[in-house]
């Protein structure tokens, strides 16, 4: 196979005079094995590749993509992007990234053992995961899904500004969704384990978590409406951070869609809050050496001791905001141009375990899972209200399970109502890390 960087450089080299071109080329191999009742339910082996081309001419920007790297398609895609640019309105800040001299961190994100991990071994892992989940507790009545997934991902970016960078990453995970049953009632739970290569995976952890999360909800009741202190499970915190990260982008700020616009230097959270986006942290599942425009990723401190310090920028929002890119250009594959977003967000962990945090709460709620974040959180207004399930906390101990409730507040208040952050920081298969967080005065809506 031709090297991706050669293809990207060649396409960028076809630029006309006065034209800026950025070519983003991707090649990905993925295997997914689903196990059910001791056998393979499905095995998918997928190989995909494609190119996305951005053209800027006279300040006008156009984009096109193709799900193939055939020679004729490369030419056509560039032509199409060029034609699209003619119909956009000019913006002086449009353009490809300028090399900024920052050297990419030297990260080892490629586990070579992935390539030699055979299909039989993958199948065996998925089947073992399903078996272990069923065996973890006698109340486990079924499995909604038990799967092993891996990817080998390579990409290259080249621009007319002379940027030419490549990335090569591997990743894999195990995930199980279990069903638990008692007295005619069913509850569900999930568990997972992630890694760069198969040797990082922990089947027992995924199976045990999936079983425990489902079984501990058995007998759940709808709670009474009221105000409580909640402990957000790491998984829930990570999902909330993802939304908060969106409000801290230069894009949301410049377009008047961020509740944090004009608040740089202000106290937006309690003193304990330190929020950092750092894709150079090799422990992050989404770690990367370069961003979606080919610039080195870097550590950006967004909130320090509760004070808002910075927003995230790609090259466009940096030029427009008269600042520097934070290496935060993100892309959803080759089918879209570079946006701006958090890549590996994490709260600085505290010193207490989740159990120690719970021990300090008289009347509260451990939120194990949330539902409907996409419909219940408005990142522009900051209003949030999501479905939730979990366990009541009484006198410092976990008490009865609860379901069919919502928790609600605003993002603004949530950050100011944080009472504690756990020591249990864990990277999850998303662009944020999880950690237990205690938040006071949340409305729990039930019966």
């Amino acid at each position: 196979m031709t090297e991706l960087i050669d293809i990207a450089t060649r396409v960028a080299g076809w630029a006309n005079d006065g034209e800026q071109v950025e070519a983003y080329v991707v090649h990905e191999r993925e295997t997914e094995v689903r196990a059910y009742e001791g056998d393979v339910e499905s095995l998918t082996s997928a190989e995909s590749q494609g190119i996305g081309v951005r053209v800027v001419a006279d300040g006008r920007q156009g984009f096109a993509y193709a799900g193939t790297l055939e020679e004729s398609a490369l030419q056509e895609t560039l032509q199409e992007a060029r034609d699209n640019a003619r119909f956009a309105e000019p913006d002086e800040f449009n353009g490809v990234a300028e090399p900024d001299g920052v050297m990419p961190a030297d990260l080892d994100l490629f586990d070579a053992s992935m390539a030699s991990f055979t299909a039989d071994e993958k199948v065996a892992l998925a089947i073992e995961l399903e078996r272990a989940t069923r065996a973890a507790d006698p109340r486990i009545s079924g499995i909604e899904s038990a799967e092993y997934v891996d990817t080998i991902y390579e990409s290259a970016v080249a621009t007319t500004n002379g940027l030419a960078t490549t990335t090569r990453e591997t990743g894999c995970y195990l995930s199980a969704y279990s069903l638990a049953e008692a007295d005619g009632e069913t509850q569900t739970g999930f568990g997972f384990s992630i890694g760069r290569g198969p040797s990082d995976l922990d089947t027992e952890k995924a199976a045990t978590e999936a079983a425990e999360r489902a079984t501990r909800l058995l007998g759940a009741v709808k709670p009474e409406t009221g105000r409580v202190t909640v402990v957000l499970d790491p998984w829930v915190t990570a999902q909330m951070l993802g939304i908060i990260g969106h409000t801290l982008t230069g894009d949301a700020v410049q377009r008047g869609r961020s509740l944090f616009a004009d608040r740089l230097g202000e106290q937006v959270a309690v003193n304990d809050v330190v929020l950092v986006d750092d894709a150079t942290d090799p422990a992050a599942f989404t770690a990367s050496m370069v961003d979606g425009e080919g610039l080195a990723t870097r550590r950006t401190s967004l909130i320090e001791d509760g004070v808002l310090q910075a927003f995230l920028h790609n090259s466009y929002t940096a030029r427009r905001g008269n600042t520097l890119s934070t290496g935060s250009a993100v892309r959803g594959g080759f089918k879209g141009g570079p946006g701006v977003g958090a890549q590996a967000l994490a709260l600085q962990p505290g010193t207490k375990t989740q159990a120690e945090l719970i021990a300090e709460i008289d009347d509260g709620l451990l939120v194990q899972g949330v539902a409907g974040l996409h419909s219940g959180v408005n990142p522009v207004s900051g209003d949030f209200s999501t479905g939730a399930e979990g366990l009541r906390i009484r006198n410092g101990e976990l008490a009865e399970p609860v379901r069919e409730l919502t928790i609600a507040s605003t993002i603004q208040r949530l950050l100011l109502d944080i009472q504690g952050i756990g020591s249990d920081l864990e990277w999850l298969p998303m662009s944020a890390a999880g950690v237990s967080v205690v938040v006071a005065d949340i409305t729990m809506s039930g019966s």
Partner: protein, 463 residues
């Protein structure tokens, strides 16, 4: 899209390791979109995806592989990979011969989007921007998006089926931000149809933009939503999301067969009040979830799922139907050739009732009126579901009064179906939606008349 002999040879190769069933799905999709934001047409995007997905079934195991290379070699190697994944016991050669089965032809697209000049598409965006900003200085930001796609598919399988479809979709949406003393609020409107550019003969994008702007401005005055359980009246159209979540997903046969649905084993039972007749219908021309054949080659169908409150059937794809010795209900869909098909909804709706919508509101002492719904989510195994309200008001003494801020509502599917006590005569389809399941998104439609649920939990912050 592919030569018959090549299809036969590919299916033959897929069955070489003893597969019982093989299928080739070919897709050629072109899409284009244009985005306006911050007062400027920012970018036009166009894309092309073309490839084939091949699956082989042996017993309960499915092997799947896909390729963007539609040459004989590319298809043969994908067929081999799928066959290796399924690993049947026996070997040998099986001849396959496909023959065309034409479904009913779709209503012709009058103005194919690819025939429309880019400048014409872009003009719609600027019209919407100006109209929204014309609603007042409170409107501080507007974005608008135009999108179209043409997706040609071919499905052939070892049962001899060969079917093709040509699916065109056109979409337009406007989002506004209003700024006031209470902060920022948002309003959105969207329309989408399985037609070409003639969509804009009937759709006034300026009118859409004004509605989106008005929604954002109204919400500036909104007070915190109440918390707790209370009667909820849902306006016409958007209520379909409620049923999509409350029971639609739970009636998908793949979830039912794994006992991951509260509706498993309940066919023939009264699962809702007698007012409720729920239908999933892929044949509704023009609607967002419409197609001629599904992604397994089955013709779209009108399927009654709940009749007068009684559960009559689930939705089926090829695999689940084959296991039960019946035919698919035309609900086998996939996001693209890179995905395996599974059971999905199409256009899901509650058929019309008889009451005057105004009477439903006046007979509600206090509660919440939801005019516009956002997305939702369901846990089919427990039946618990949520959906968002993006425009809602208090009902006080039988009248719609003050607007309330956004929030989620939560309920339990089987319980909510038994709490529907009023159904209006004002049936309407809602906005175009994208339904997500197992990481795959497919276009769906939904609809309802005005309806009332005697008790649903509102996830607000007010007492």
């Amino acid at each position: 899209m592919l030569d018959h002999e090549l299809i036969n040879r590919t299916l033959g190769a897929a069955l070489r390791t003893g597969g019982e069933f093989a299928e080739v799905f070919v897709e050629d999709k072109k899409s284009s979109s244009a985005m306006l934001d911050d007062g400027r047409v920012e970018e036009l995007t166009s894309g092309r995806d073309r490839g084939a997905g091949i699956r082989v079934v042996v017993g309960d195991t499915t092997g799947f592989a896909h390729t963007a290379d539609l040459s004989e070699t590319g298809l043969a190697s994908a067929a081999e990979a799928a066959a290796a994944a399924a690993r049947g016991g026996g070997g040998g050669v099986r001849e396959v011969s496909v023959s065309r089965s034409d479904g009913p032809r779709p209503a012709a697209v009058r103005i194919p989007p690819e025939d429309v000049a880019k400048a014409t598409k872009v003009e719609l965006l600027s019209l919407a921007d100006a109209a929204a900003r014309g609603e007042g200085s409170a409107i501080t930001q507007v974005s608008a998006r135009y999108g179209d796609s043409r997706r040609r598919i071919l499905v052939a399988n070892s049962d001899g089926l060969l079917a093709e479809d040509d699916q065109v979709r056109t979409l337009f949406s406007v989002s506004c931000v209003a700024t006031g003393d209470t902060g920022l609020q948002t309003g959105r409107e969207s329309t989408g149809s399985t037609v070409g550019f003639e969509l804009f003969d009937e759709t006034d994008v300026e009118e859409m933009a004004r509605r989106a702007a008005a929604r954002a401005i109204t919400k500036l005055a909104a007070r915190p939503a109440p918390s707790g359980a209370m009667p909820v009246v849902v306006g016409p159209g958007g209520g379909g999301v409620l049923f999509h979540e409350a029971c639609g997903h739970g009636l998908e046969a793949d979830l039912v067969s794994k006992s991951a649905s509260v509706f498993a084993g309940r066919v023939g039972e009264q699962v809702a009040t007698p007012l409720v007749t729920l239908i999933d219908d892929g044949t509704m021309a023009g609607e967002w979830g419409h197609f001629t054949i599904d992604d397994e080659g089955r013709p779209a169908a009108h399927n009654v799922l709940i009749q007068d409150g009684v559960l009559t059937d689930y939705m089926w794809d090829h695999l689940r139907a084959r296991k039960e010795g019946r035919v698919s209900s035309g609900n086998g869909r996939r996001q693209s050739y890179q995905h395996l098909p599974m059971v999905r909804m199409t256009n899901t709706y509650i058929s019309n009732g008889v009451e005057e919508p105004a009477d439903i509101i006046t007979s509600t002492d206090s509660g919440v009126y939801v005019a516009e719904l956002g997305g939702g989510q369901v846990n089919t195994a427990t039946g618990d579901f949520v959906f968002g309200m993006t425009e809602a008001y208090l009902i006080e003494d039988g009248e719609i009064t003050e607007p309330i801020r956004e929030g989620n509502l939560i309920g339990n599917g089987p319980e909510v179906l038994n709490r529907i006590d009023a159904l209006g005569n004002d049936f309407a389809m809602g906005s175009p939606g994208t339904c997500g399941k197992d990481g795959q998104g497919v276009p769906v439609g939904d609809g309802t008349p005005t309806l009332r649920v005697t008790s649903l939990t509102i996830g607000g912050t007010a007492a």
